[in-house]
Structures are given as C-alpha cells and as structure tokens.
Symmetry: C2
Subunit: 356 residues, 2 copies
Amino acid sequence: MEKTITVLPGDGIGLEVVKATTAVLDKTAELYGHSFKYQYADIGGASIDKHDNPLPQETIDTCLNSDGVLLGAVGGPKWDNLPGDKRPEKGLLGIRKALNLFANLRPVTGHESLTDSSTLRKEVVDNVDLMIVRELTGGLYFGEPQERREVDGEEAAVDTLQYKKSEIERIVRQAFELAQVRSKKLTSVDKANVLESSRLWREVAEEVSKDYPDVELDHMLVDNAAMQLIRDPKQFDVVVTENMFGDILSDEASMLTGSLGMLPSASIGSETPGLYEPVHGSAPDIAGQGKANPLAAISSAAMMLKYSFGLHEEAAAIDRAVSTVLTDGHRTGDIAKEGEDVLSTDDMLEKVLQAL
Amino acid sequence: MEKTITVLPGDGIGLEVVKATTAVLDKTAELYGHSFKYQYADIGGASIDKHDNPLPQETIDTCLNSDGVLLGAVGGPKWDNLPGDKRPEKGLLGIRKALNLFANLRPVTGHESLTDSSTLRKEVVDNVDLMIVRELTGGLYFGEPQERREVDGEEAAVDTLQYKKSEIERIVRQAFELAQVRSKKLTSVDKANVLESSRLWREVAEEVSKDYPDVELDHMLVDNAAMQLIRDPKQFDVVVTENMFGDILSDEASMLTGSLGMLPSASIGSETPGLYEPVHGSAPDIAGQGKANPLAAISSAAMMLKYSFGLHEEAAAIDRAVSTVLTDGHRTGDIAKEGEDVLSTDDMLEKVLQAL
Ligand SMILES: CC(C)[C@H](C(=O)O)[C@@H](O)C(=O)O
Ligand SMILES: CC(C)[C@H](C(=O)O)[C@@H](O)C(=O)O
C-alpha cells in the first residue's frame, strides 16, 4: 500500500515526537511491504513565526492532498499574548474545520504497569479501557453569533451553542459503529435537563440507536458523568458527547491512567484525511532536550493506520510494541518512578523499533 | 436573634434530612439564646403532585418572606418522564432565579477519617479544602434564545451563553471576598481560548482583582481544571467559574472526598434570603427508611448561620460537632466501611446533638 502522510510537527516537543513516529511508520512499512511518503507543513506557533499565520492556506492544501495527517503539538508561552486570531490554537481549530474533522476519538487505556502513577487507586483504574467520542466541529466552538454586544446598557458577551440534527446524527452514528466493535455499550452524555441542544441530542441518539439494536445505549447527564469517571471509570466503554463537554471530560479522563504522555487521539471526518495527534501538549519546558515521550505520538500513528488506512494488523503490531516496551520496564522521564532508569526519546524509539 | 427559616423538604430523603437539621438548629438556638421559626412550603416532585407545579408562587413568596431557606432535595423517577416545564428541577432553577441566587458556594473538605472511601489515593485528598464558587443565574442555563429552529433546511437546537459585565463582576467579587478570609488565592476558570464570554470573564476578573491586591488571582482553562482537580486538588483554594463549568467541576470535585453524603452548599444573592441544601440528591432508593445521612444538610444549615445570619460562632460549633461524630467513628450506611456499625438518621442526629 502507498500512502502520503502530511506531517505537521508544530511546536515544542511536537518536533521530536513526530520524528520518532515517522521512524516507527517507516519500520512498519518495511515489515509489511507498504510505502509511506511524508510531506511537511507548518502550523501553530512555528507557523506564526514564519508566515504570521497559524494555519496558512498552503498547509490546508497539503493536508487535503494526502491520506492522513500526523500532528505533533501546538502552542507555547512565546505566543500566549498574541491577539485571538493569531494564536497557535487557531491553527488547531482551523484545521479541524477545514478538514471537517467532526469526530475526535480519545481512547483511555490504563497500562497496568503505569497505573501506579495515577492519583486514583490502582484497583479503580487498572485495565480501564474507554473511548471518548467528542463532536469536534460544532457547538459553542463555532456557533454564531459569538460577539460582544450591549445588553441593558452595558457590555456583554455571547457565545452560541447550536447543533443541527445532521451534525448530531453523524457523530452519534460514528460512536455506535465504534461501540459495535468494542463492548456494544454506548453512553451518550448531555445536559438534557437544561439545554435544548441536549434534548435534540438525546432524541437523535435514540433515533440512531434503532439502527444498532445490538448496542446498548444509555444517557447520562454531564455533571454525573464528571463524577462517574472518577467513581467508577470501568462502567464506561464508548462515551459520545458534544464539543465542549467532550473537551472537559476527555481531559478529565486522561488523568485516570496517570500518564498523559501515553494517550493518542484521532480526529476524523468522512471524506477528508484524518488527523492524528498525541494528547500531551507542546511541553515547552522540556522541548528540544531529547526527553520527550514519543509513545503517545506513536500510538496516534497506529490509530492512523487503523482508521485512515484500514491497516488493522499493522496498527495492532505497533500497539503491541508499545505495550511490550512498557511491560519490559522502559520509561521516559514523564512516566519513570524514582530510581527507575530514564530513557531519552531516541532510546525509547530504539526499544519500540526492536519490539516491532 | 430571631430568624424565620423557610423549609422546603422536597422529595425523597429531603424530608428526613431537613427534619434532623431543624432539630440541630433548635438545639443551637437554645444553646446560644436565639429563636428560629420555621415555615414550610412545597417544591419539586412533591409540589407537582399537590399543585401540578414544581414551584408555586406561594412557595416563592414564603421564601422571600423569610431570612433563609433550607432545601432538602428535589426529583425522583416518579417525575422523570414529565414534560420539561413540569419537571422537579424546574423548581430548583426557578427558585434560584426568583431569589436571584447568583452565587453557589460548594465547599469540598476531606474529613481525614473518611478519605478511605475516596477512589483517589489518600495522600492526594487528605485535608483537601477548597471552595467552588459557581455563577448560578446566568450563562447557558438562562440565555435566550433557547429554541428549536430550522437551519439549512433541517431541524436544529440553540442555546445561548450570555454574560453581562455586571453579572460577572458580582460573582467574581463574591469569590474574592471569600478568598480574602481563606488562603488569599483565587483561581478563575474559563475557556478564554475559545469563548467570547470567557474572554470578557477574564477581563472582568482582572479588573476586579485591583480591588483585592492581597489576593493572588490566576486563570485556568476549564479542560485543564478538570485534570488538575484530580491530579493535585490541594493546589486549589477558591475557584470561581460560570454556571455550566461550575456544575461540572463542582460535581467532579465532590468525588474527591469519597462522601457525597457529607457535602453542603449555599446559594446566595445580595438582597434576598440565601438557599442552603445538601449536594446529595433525593436518593429515592433509600427514601423513607430512616437510613439517610443528615450531615450534609446539617452542614448546610451551618452555612446558613454563617452566610445569612452572620452567626459565625454558632456555625463553627455545628461544624465541630459534625467533625467530632466522624472522628468518633459514627457512620450512616453511605459512609460506613464493611464491618462498621451503621447508624440510622435519628441515631446520627442524636450523636450530633450530644456533640453540640
Ligand atoms: C487548544 C484548544 C482550543 C483545544 C480545544 O479546546 O479543543 C484543546 O483543548 C483540545 O482539546 O484539543
Ligand atoms: C438539577 C440541575 C438542573 C442542577 C443544575 O444543573 O444546576 C443540578 O445539577 C445542580 O447542580 O444543582
């Protein structure tokens, strides 16, 4: 199989982790007889520095002209005080919209050998295995009007939470599809006792559920979900929710495993290439020092193989390699406990390549 | 001091816990030479059954005509399938708006003797002591338009997140006042990298902070706050945030102590009586069986003494009594570990009265 991958290193440790990841992709291609070509483009702070724009049109075109996008990370203190439309995260929001990436998949898997570093009790988080499916191109993030206005003679600000039925339907359908190949259990999270958009969300989820009679659907209010994720995360398998709730809950859930440096993500649309990125940010404090943990980016690449290229066996091989290095006790600084040997990004990459 | 307290027992265990609480208030009044008069009114499901309305005007009038309101709990499966405007929680939202209760105070205190039942590690939650200040009458909960409409030829739903400057200012000011008598540290939570209302929120918080030079203000994004509450809750003292974020974060935070049955809340306005209620719900499964834990309602009454009546010494006495019964190992079913003696609501009340 021949595939063209757009690589957007972005900022901070983004550069280091995508470098390690392309090495893993190359090795996988070699082992399974595929060919991956890379084309690089700018995004985020690095792009602001070069083009005065966090997302040049050229970057969008390059992405559209490829089979999958691998993103490192965007942002850093250097660009924190720029005006809103010049900030690195505008690049992220922009690329989501431009590629119509409406579904953000955030798997949370507790590697048993790492849950010691979770602040939750080991028995609560060991073998956690859930997937948050977050709507990514609607809701408060993109609703209009979003503006300052005068209300009752004083300044006010307004954001709009809007969902069309079709927007809800496609994300809920995506979640049902995922649930079908997992434990056949889907939790739809909303705030239907307060929000009109949540009531529509719930109606649509019920409607779509008729097409998936083998999947058990239940509804949970977002405040309760925020509690239940801590009280008993193993009750969840696939969770689907709107953009802002998903932003909050997926970050909350990322704390369960005690290792943000391990978590991948996928953002997918229907006709466009998907975008894959580690959940950890650009970590400016350790950038450029060869200390970054590349495993989340590598796992994100595995998601690309699976969801964008349909290469299930290859994806599973990468996942297994990551598991093996962890079980063998290899650790980068972010996941090492006191007294444990600390590997550099390159050393960790070496271990993964060997395990492959 | 003579005070009139409106008691809204509501539904489920609400009835039992407010009964225990008025007994504690009576004892406190006796000890300190005050007189508390009670007037009862209907709210929630019980009120729907009686008046076909979760919040009759008479209830509002009774509340307005008193010095403080003690609420048990509202809701239950019996009323779950009624249309939106007939649901018990409409009573809750309605009374908040009618009494202009713009500030919801949710203290989270880890009683060391109870943190064993938290799913978080003991060292992470022992002695946690934070206060979430949630805006309660604005934002997505009450913004207009909130409606179904046609967009691009299909059905859509819209909610509106609006804040006026004055609405932000009064809640932030309230939070600064609280921070001033606590650790002088205030964290304002928003999503300023996405929402216009959050950007206004941040500006106003900065402006108000000039009046409180002794309080250290910082800003945190809501997704990060959802992580940090689990990663290291002791970094927080007072947290202030808008309505929906506050709903989610305060419920998340309530899981830290491992004992929802222990957490009080206060909802206060400026000219109107405050409303005090335990955070636990109506717990229909154990209602009417004398099993309910009355401590959260009792602690809520202590908040009433403090915030509505200025009776600080008396409030502290109740808080001490609650601490004492816990330290002495007295437990209702919800907080008992295997093998521990389980007290009934009445027995627990007896212990508190003795400790007082
Ligand atoms: C940077 C920010 C705009 C973004 C979001 O809120 O979506 C981030 O938190 C994420 O979850 O990818
Ligand atoms: C019942 C519901 C409307 C309410 C809210 O969301 O405010 C509840 O969750 C709360 O926090 O008091």
